[in-house]
Symmetry: C2
Subunit: 187 residues, 2 copies
DNA sequence: CTTACTGTACCGTCTGGACGGTAATGTCAA
DNA sequence: TTGACATTACCGTCCAGACGGTACAGTAAG
């Protein structure tokens, strides 16, 4: 019955993200995380030797999950393979539709030290570059990318002011763009 | 020679915003703010009876400055009066061009407690509604609004990954939309 | 014997904020 | 004009509590 290293790690990461969401990103304490995760503080520090490492892991975990999902969607997990832009748009839309912002841990990392977000910055830049390479209309790509960024930040920072019809309007615009960029005849 | 209440308030607010920018939003302490502002901690607490009030003031100050600038630009401070959408786009662009993110205090408030951002959410919703009332093409308004939101969040959270040509591409797209929404013949 | 913890005790540091003081600036009656 | 009192705007000190992190003894499973 004793510990499974991997499952403890995940429980702790999940607990940290949830807590950050409900107590506020700046008030994330190790004691609280340990309690929420159902491990002792000693156990927490056994898995993550410092708070900084926890934060780093939170961010890396978020990125790797997003990247895995993106690859799966792009490869055509349900339905045939789609363009990466379409996959990116759909995935972002799904993420924004979630009730629990899955990236609240990321915000906690920001509160602790903005540098923790550097991996995300790098990931985003690489993603944008790879999308650019596949796109025929860079201007429209930038428009779509910025819109998604806007949508995501609103959700993440609990600033979502859009009505349902406004959001669906934005989404249908994005998906139409993605389809156009994918299908040579649509232009 | 003794204190001017108003100037102390402003010095403190400015110091808090600057500090939040350079020490990280979560590490904003009253002592540090007091030192930076050139007042004692007691003096700080006299002007803002608690940290929460400071944060609130930071956010309100940011909103009111933005709103004042928007009104001035819209009324045609330099050049004739422009549409509010055009003014909004230009103002946001200027804000994003700044080296010092003028809203870093807002991020500090977020770190303390996400609820401090509610006034901003309300302001944004009202702004969007008023722009909508003036717009002939709500879909394009939403696109523009989301793009600006994306641009702003990137700047604010130090996630600005766009190259110069990409940013200017986005800006020229936005300004073209603003002009089109203003000038009935351009459609 | 090792891995993966639990649990407790503890330390040094930092933080918000309460508090008592005080100099300068009004206010106002005599 | 002056003295008495009130208010404003701040200073400097102090403190209880929270926090990150360490140390270490114990334990249950494989």
């Amino acid at each position: 019955m004793s510990g499974n290293r991997a499952s403890s790690r995940e429980k702790i990461l999940a607990a940290a993200a949830e807590l950050a969401d409900c107590v506020g990103p700046g008030n994330l304490s190790l004691d609280a995380v340990a309690q929420r995760a159902g491990v002792s503080k000693g156990g927490l520090l056994y898995n993550f030797p410092s708070k900084a490492k926890l934060m780093q892991a939170l961010v890396e975990d978020y990125i790797s999950k997003f990247d895995t999902d993106l690859a799966a969607k792009s490869a055509g997990q349900h339905g045939g393979p789609v363009s990466r832009l379409a996959a990116y748009i759909e995935l972002s839309a799904e993420e924004c539709a979630q009730v629990h912002p899955s990236a609240s841990g990321v915000v906690a990392a920001l509160a602790e030290d903005p540098d923790f977000l550097k991996p995300i910055r790098n990931y985003k830049r690489r993603l944008l570059d790879s999308l650019k390479a596949e796109s025929k209309d860079p201007a429209k790509l930038i428009v779509a990318f910025l819109m998604i960024e806007g949508l995501r930040s609103m959700k993440l920072f609990d600033m979502d002011i859009l009505h349902e019809d406004e959001r669906s309007m934005a989404l249908s615009y994005l998906l139409a763009e993605a389809a156009a960029s994918q299908d040579p005849e649509a232009n």
